[in-house]
């Protein structure tokens, strides 16, 4: 009974302090807002709308068909056309276009003979652009020898690609749910990692440990307000993801709530543990960055988990963010239920209990 009162007292006090710390309070809202807009637009491993030019030496109807088919891939944006390959090359050097498609004089002959129909002149200085255009090399062209516009081949294309869950291959769909993991890792660990150190630095701790409060009460009381911070942030990120980036929630709210709370709890207790290790707020910040970097790079947010070396995978498994990215992509994009994702949920909950236990054990009501 009095334990609940003490936890409530600590939580209420933290809330008050948080609401008066304008900068921190602003960060709660601004970090997800700015970062989502920034990353949502900027982190785009899918390359689209590369500015290119056409050099059509044949002037044939077939050429126009081919150009139209290239245009509809949306990989390129045809911004101009030139009369000679040399002019196109100059434009590439000048940076006006990234590539040019040259269709030769004997285009109709080549089509009839089943030969290569044209040549891409590509600015290779950006590898992402280069590989995107390389992928166009084998794009199936639906045309017959000397085909007029109406005579499209009924032959099936050489291959067909079926993309599940993100048929348009838009990277926002992958990035937005992943961003929740990164933003929550960053803000929640950062806030709680300073929680206890701050009291020590400001001299409040010496008074607090002379009171009858139990370490576990103090720990839980400190965490409660940040659970709400985490919920506010996730609502911002996913709400904005829905409104601005049109990322749909395919799963159920309940499942989303379960996995999110599990991850918030894991992140907060990890921050708390840092707070018992760090001697100053500066140290706490450094340790947070130490956790944050691999959370961004190894969690599957930036690079596919399966493509990483085994050792990196083992390290990634230790990070709550890795488990959460798996969970949220499952629930959010594939419409999975919490029951189907139990191992990762159990891992997060176990992690929470372990961190809380270690942090509580490490925290002593003494100045020794």
């Amino acid at each position: 009974m009095s334990s609940g009162r003490r936890i409530g007292a600590v939580a209420g006090k933290e809330f008050l302090q948080l609401s008066r710390d304008r900068v921190t309070f602003g960060m709660v809202v601004m970090i997800p807002l700015i970062q989502l807009l920034l990353f949502g637009y900027a982190i785009n491993t899918m390359v689209r709308d590369i500015p290119v030019a056409i050099v059509d030496l044949s002037g044939s109807a077939a050429a126009r068909v081919i150009v139209e088919q290239v245009r509809v891939t949306q990989v390129v944006d045809i911004v101009s056309s030139y009369n000679t390959p040399a002019e196109a090359e100059a434009a590439i050097v000048a940076g006006a276009i990234r590539a040019a498609l040259v269709l030769p004089h004997d285009l109709t002959h080549r089509i009839a003979g089943g030969e290569t129909v044209g040549q891409w002149l590509v600015d290779g200085s950006d590898t992402m652009v280069g590989s995107a255009l390389l992928a166009l090399r084998n794009m199936p062209l639906k045309l017959e020898a000397g085909a007029p516009a109406g005579a499209y081949s009924s032959q099936p294309p050489s291959f067909e690609v079926a993309l599940f869950f993100n048929p348009e291959r838009r990277s926002e769909v992958n990035v937005v749910p992943g961003l929740t993991a990164i933003i929550l890792t960053m803000t929640l660990i950062l806030f709680t990692s300073a929680a206890l150190v701050r009291e020590t630095e400001r001299g409040n701790m010496e008074l607090l440990i002379t009171t009858p409060i139990y370490p576990l009460e103090l720990m839980i009381g400190k965490l409660v307000p940040y659970v709400f911070v985490g919920i506010v942030q996730i609502v911002i990120i996913l709400g904005l993801g829905r409104l601005v980036f049109n990322v749909p929630l395919n799963g159920a709210f309940v499942d989303l709530a379960i996995i999110t709370l599990a991850f918030i709890a894991a992140s907060l207790t990890l921050g708390l543990l840092i707070s018992t290790v760090a001697k100053t707020q500066m140290q706490a910040m450094q340790m947070t960055v130490f956790i944050l970097m691999p959370s961004i790079l190894l969690s599957g947010f930036m690079f596919p988990y399966d493509a990483m070396p085994i050792l990196a995978q083992y390290i990634a498994e230790l990070l709550p963010a890795t488990h959460f990215i798996r969970l949220i992509r499952g629930v959010y994009l594939r419409g999975a239920e919490a029951g189907q994702l139990l191992p990762d949920i159990i891992w997060l909950l176990g992690f929470t209990v372990l961190m809380l236990a270690v942090a509580t054990k490490r925290f002593r009501k003494s100045l020794d």
């Binding site: 009095s2 409530g8 006090k13 008050l16 302090q17 001299g203 409040n204 003494s366």
Partner: protein, 309 residues
């Protein structure tokens, strides 16, 4: 119920190579104000922290309010109030929010907390600033708030670590009035200070230096021990007289105070103090008189702060 609020035997605390508290024996009676007098680094804060159960002694035994410390530290926490040297309340919370927070931590019920807080706000003249943030208060106001919070749960024993270091003399006087009020209610107060005037107000005093207990007793008794050993000299070139006096083996210290030189002689002198000085300092125009010993004399006499100055 034991007579002593605090007893320690052989209490020591070592930090690495530094012996911060060295073999201290204390007997602090209930219902009194007991002072720790000593310069910075003399072990006052370390001793208080050990008595609160915040630091584990390297050796020695302690009994505080009849409890074995540090073993029973948790039980002790409900019965003591501690005012730390540095202001330890929350700057970004208001007076009443700070008090409500600690009332809940101490397990006071809602109704009980409200009454107690109103009572304390009134007692420490803080009612008009109950909604002011601690950061926006003066040194004296912050100190009254800290005392109010330290007494929220009506503890039997209060530890005040240099409570008046950030306070002007008038506020300091008022503060001591509040302390005597608390003693009237039967509380025991342990206060540390490096102000002589403050130390003089205590019922009993312990003089600490470099971790050791040099002297223990009532201020008046400590001063009485120095009767006939303090001489005031007037007239002549006091700077020069001081140099001469300090060279004498019988002189422990000499310090100029305005127009006079205050000289403290050692305990083992075998002739009246004035005679010794008159015989040795052969400047004709000097006037000698025996002075009432002050607490500063006590401090100088029992520490090694004498001749080196």
């Amino acid at each position: 119920m034991t007579e002593q609020a605090i007893t320690t035997r052989g209490l020591s605390r070592r930090f690495g190579d530094l012996l911060a508290v060295d073999n201290v024996d204390l007997d602090i009676p209930r219902g009194e104000i007991y002072g720790f007098l000593g310069p910075n680094g003399s072990g006052k804060t370390t001793t208080i922290r050990m008595l609160c159960g915040l630091l584990t002694p390297s050796s020695g035994k302690m009994s505080v309010l009849g409890l074995d410390i540090p073993a029973a530290a948790e039980a002790l926490r409900r019965r003591i109030g501690y005012m730390t040297q540095k202001f330890s309340l929350y700057d970004d919370l208001s007076v009443s929010e700070n008090m409500q927070f600690l009332a809940s931590i101490h397990g006071l019920g809602r109704q009980q907390a409200r009454q107690r807080i109103d009572q304390l706000l009134d007692r420490y003249t803080l009612t008009s600033m109950r909604n002011r943030r601690a950061a926006d208060m003066s040194g004296g106001q912050r100190q009254r708030l800290a005392l109010a919070v330290a007494t929220l749960h009506s503890p039997d024993l209060l530890f005040l670590d240099e409570p008046t270091s950030a306070v002007d003399p008038e506020n300091r006087r008022d503060f001591w009035e509040k302390l005597f009020d608390l003693v009237d209610e039967g509380k025991t107060i342990l206060v540390s200070t490096h102000y002589m005037d403050e130390a003089e107000r205590c019922h009993q005093l312990a003089v600490l230096e470099t971790g050791s207990l040099r002297k223990q007793g009532a201020p008046s008794a400590l001063m009485a021990e120095l009767a006939d050993r303090v001489v005031e000299i007037r007239g002549g070139d006091l700077r020069k007289v001081k140099q001469q006096a300090l060279r004498l083996p019988q002189v422990q210290s000499a310090a100029q105070q305005g127009m006079q030189l205050r000289v403290l002689l050692r305990a083992d002198i075998n002739a009246p103090a004035i005679d010794i000085l008159r015989g040795q300092l052969d400047t004709p125009s000097l006037e000698f008189s025996i002075a009432r010993p002050s607490l500063e004399d006590v401090f100088v006499a029992c520490t090694e702060g004498g001749k080196e100055r």
